[in-house]
Subunit: 333 residues, 2 copies
DNA sequence: CTGTTAGCGCATTCAA
DNA sequence: TTGAATGCGCTAACAG
């Protein structure tokens, strides 16, 4: 492998000058810089991440921690992050943490601590106190996407408002008997994404004078949404509208409704959250949260922090928007 | 940050001993090792990746290069890789390369060359000669998933056989007028995944005495599949069966057929390839290729290579299997 | 089995 | 503007 001294020799300068010319830090005459650049190019020299990192303390890499890789939202956000980061020359080191405590511990207390990354982005990660502390102990900028985490700098949509918006949409159409598919009662207490969406639902109903908000818990998969919708729609007094806390569940609900011989939206209105690419194929009305853009924003926030900008908590709120594609309609009278 | 000398001091030994005790390389008495382990644990010591990498030449990280992050197949394979790799203490460094030549060049000739990774896994990447050379020049084990790349060690399903199996399934049901949705003519020439599936289709038809194989090119998205199916089904002499080269396109085809008022499978049989999780919701018959397992296998292959096993080319073939879920039926007579 | 020593490849002082 | 020297934190010889 060609090293910095090969370049130095080829350019007839010292390694210090090569380093300065290539990194842009420190004074180098234009002519010298040119010679170094040419020599480096010709030799195909690339600086060793390990050596550079050891000498500077900067790794030119950002760690991204996700709970799932194979779900649409996460891979889409990740794509947004990747786009933005690679443009700035940063590598992405990917950490997927399941629910297994042993594995989580290994990621938080070993992998992430190897000083391989200059910053961390977490996506919709629910962290316990110990894990949060562990992250903060890293001493690097951390940006948490999705879910207001009081312990971290967050970049998140106002999920309470999202829940309200979706609910309001249904109420405005005249629906009075709604069911929410999402977080269970236990989760609703916390400030997690599912919990907030559920609370938005409950609060908005209450504001409309409806106090018996019904919630069918589900696990954010198509299958879970389908099962929850089936339960709701086959109950004694079935709802005329469903609000699913994710598009995947909403799609499951649409499929379940069809299976039950119900027409969407004539017999039941259904609204989701996400902006899943599949939504248009189901004419799904949804609250789009622009997942890919979230990744981009997070990457920018991290880069800004690495440039020295000291971001405050609650770095920013992300946009969301109701997209009416036709799976909701005014209540038949 | 706590360093190796802090541990050494705490344990009353030299840094060399700490290194040996923690890494497991070299002889250490059980008692000493125990003391070191305790001291390291108490201090929360984690070895610096940069320093260790610089000293050993090993980075404990594997690079994964993908063309897309936000498509089901890729994120699913990635999840499989991640699972297997994290268990062995390896980090994943993720590189997403688009079609943009400038960006590709930067990834192949800069990022990947930083000596940050001990091995590379590529997923369904179509590389030009220069890129292949660049990868091989890295001097690390490389495993290419999907697509027989003559220049790399590959781990791939026999996509020619996949194409034949799907086609055969339709032929066995009595269909004689089939259309393939997949690679265009230009792509068919090469040994890419889409090209091979298409050739499997054409060859199997030929074997059955059908020489006018019809192919509708599409781009492996739901939308592309839908458009291609619409073209095929509205043609003068519409086919009774469609073979889509991916489940996403097959789902698009099902949606298109429905839109045209055609019943699946009564009016048209449709078969896909992948084993996409969404398939079951469309009763999609498909050739499952166990994407997640592919990731696992690739990770294992890479780990074996890092353990010194010198793998030959064409490392192995991956399993695939026809899953009949009901979107195909015997031809109505 | 353990400690001492000498780098790994680069970035940054400090002098010139 | 440039070069020589030093050290980033760790590992691998080598001696003991």
């Amino acid at each position: 492998m060609v090293g910095i001294d090969d370049v130095a020799r080829a350019a007839g300068v010292s390694t210090a000058t090569v380093s300065r010319a290539l990194s842009g830090r420190g004074p180098v005459s234009t002519a010298t810089r040119e010679r170094v650049l040419v020599a480096a190019e010709e030799l195909g020299y690339v600086v060793s991440a390990a050596a550079s990192s050891l000498a500077t303390g900067r790794a030119r890499a950002v760690g991204v921690v996700v709970p799932f890789l194979d779900r649409w939202f996460f891979s889409t956000v990740l794509a947004g992050i990747s786009d933005a980061l690679v443009r700035e020359g940063y590598d992405i080191t990917l950490y997927s943490v399941s629910g297994d405590p042993v594995e989580r511990h290994r990621v938080f207390d070993d992998h992430l601590r190897r000083r391989r990354i200059d910053a961390v982005i977490t996506i919709a990660l629910e962290l316990d106190a110990e894990e949060s502390a562990s992250l903060r102990g890293l001493g690097v900028p951390i940006v948490a996407i999705a879910g207001p985490n009081p312990l971290l700098t967050t970049l998140t949509v106002d999920d309470l408002a999202v829940g309200r918006l979706a609910t309001d949409h249904l109420l405005a159409l005249g629906h009075r008997h709604l069911v929410h598919i999402g977080a269970d009662a236990a989760t609703a207490a916390g400030s997690t994404v599912p919990g907030l969406r559920r609370r938005g639902f409950v609060e908005q109903l209450a504001a409309a004078g409806i106090t018996d908000a019904v919630v069918e818990p589900a696990d954010f998969t198509i299958e879970g949404g389908s099962a929850a919708a089936t339960r709701a729609l086959t109950a004694a007094n079935p709802p005329t509208a469903l609000f699913a806390a994710s598009d995947e569940m909403a799609i499951g609900a649409i499929l379940a409704a069809r299976e039950l011989g119900l027409r969407v939206p004539e017999d039941v209105s259904i609204v989701g959250v996400d902006g899943h690419e599949l939504g248009r194929w189901f004419s799904l009305t949804t609250v789009d949260q622009f997942a890919r853009g979230q990744g981009g924003r997070a990457a920018e926030a991290v880069l800004a922090a690495l440039d020295g900008a000291e971001p405050g908590r609650g770095l920013g709120t992300l946009p969301f928007e109701l997209v009416d594609r036709g799976s909701t309609a005014a209540m038949a009278r």
